[in-house]
Amino acid sequence: MSTPGPNIRADLLAARGLGWDFLRRPGTWLTGAQKLAVAAETRAARTCATCAARKEALSPTWVTDPHERASDLPEAWADVVHRLVTDPSRMTRSAIDGLADHGLDDAGYVELLGATVFALGLDTADRAAGLPVRPLPEAVAGDPSKASPGQLDDVGAWVRVLSTKDSKAATLWAEVLRPTNVVRALSLVPAQVPTHLALVGALYLPLRDVPSTRATGRALSRPQIELVASRVSALNECFY
């Protein structure tokens, strides 16, 4: 493991800072401490024996042992975080429904998902690059805003997304002519959309550049970038 050298892009370093700063602040439905607890669970999931057994089982529901935990989050929340990290392609709507009895509705789940994927994505990039595991930051105290998302659309996913007709849409997706489903997927919690897009823009490409066949400002060519993207998606068995 090493510290970042001079050959790492400044925007890539800045995105890491932005992502972790977002995670430590109170959100819309979760506190900063809860979001960081989610991040801690994403790290625990990597070596969790229950997750490993589940991954091998024909059905993930056949293995019911408790997870190896790193926080005091409710077990149901931690179970979903561990599933998202280690067995995402077998995630189900019923797993999300099960959170309702533990204080998380669909919007709360989308914020839990956002915290999971932001932490996991940043940690994975660090691990790949040989950077040390970043200590979790101090949580900023405060209550979640509980802000209403606004006008919503059903695009056939398990959760609704912000409508492109909502007054916030033009600002949130100013970079793109027509946001695709995956760009809108976390928008049931609109406050996490700017961080989501900033991470994508730095780790991969800015959305406005995706339809092009070039990769301006990158050391890799666009085909090299897409080869890496395709291999990751194949290993994750991601259909999208």
Binding site: G121, V228, S230, Y240
Partner: protein
């Protein structure tokens, strides 16, 4: 996405089926084998595997290229879970444009494929036309 990026130049026409097989050989992408080895080591390898794959990648694409690749791995680790965690179906235009490619590389066998509704006769014709037009549109757009 790999298919969409393929018209960049004749010397860099990647073979997406080769990319998904896992070795990186035969992809047509410069240093494809080192890039795929780096992805495999990050997501499924030991720390020693990753250290070796990272060093080999730095030797071929440089440290800046390795950091770019690490970022892309982080991004798609994130985005794959956004899609799977929300039960997201493919957008209709994307479904049409990628239908042939999905058949070719076998992703229709993934359990998550059930979430995307596939159309009938007329959508198959639209998919056929779109698959031929899309590379031309992307190539023209990139020249601007």
């Amino acid at each position: 996405m790999l298919g969409a990026s393929s018209p960049t130049s004749d010397s860099q026409t990647p073979d997406i089926a080769a990319a998904t097989r896992g070795t990186g050989e035969g992809t047509g992408v410069p240093h494809g084998d080192a890039l795929v080895r780096f992805v495999n080591a990050t997501l499924t390898g030991t720390d020693d595997d990753l250290t070796a794959a990272r060093a080999a990648l730095v030797d071929t694409v440089g440290e800046a290229g390795m950091h770019d690749a690490a970022g892309v791995i982080g991004n798609f680790t994130l985005m794959n879970r956004v899609a799977d965690g929300t039960g997201l179906p493919l957008d209709a235009p994307l479904e049409l444009a990628s239908r042939g490619l999905r058949d070719a590389i076998g992703v229709n066998a993934y359990s998550a494929a059930e979430r995307t509704r596939v159309g009938g006769f007329f959508s198959r014709i639209a998919a056929w036309v779109l698959a031929r037009l899309l590379p031309i549109v992307l190539r023209l757009r990139s020249r601007r």
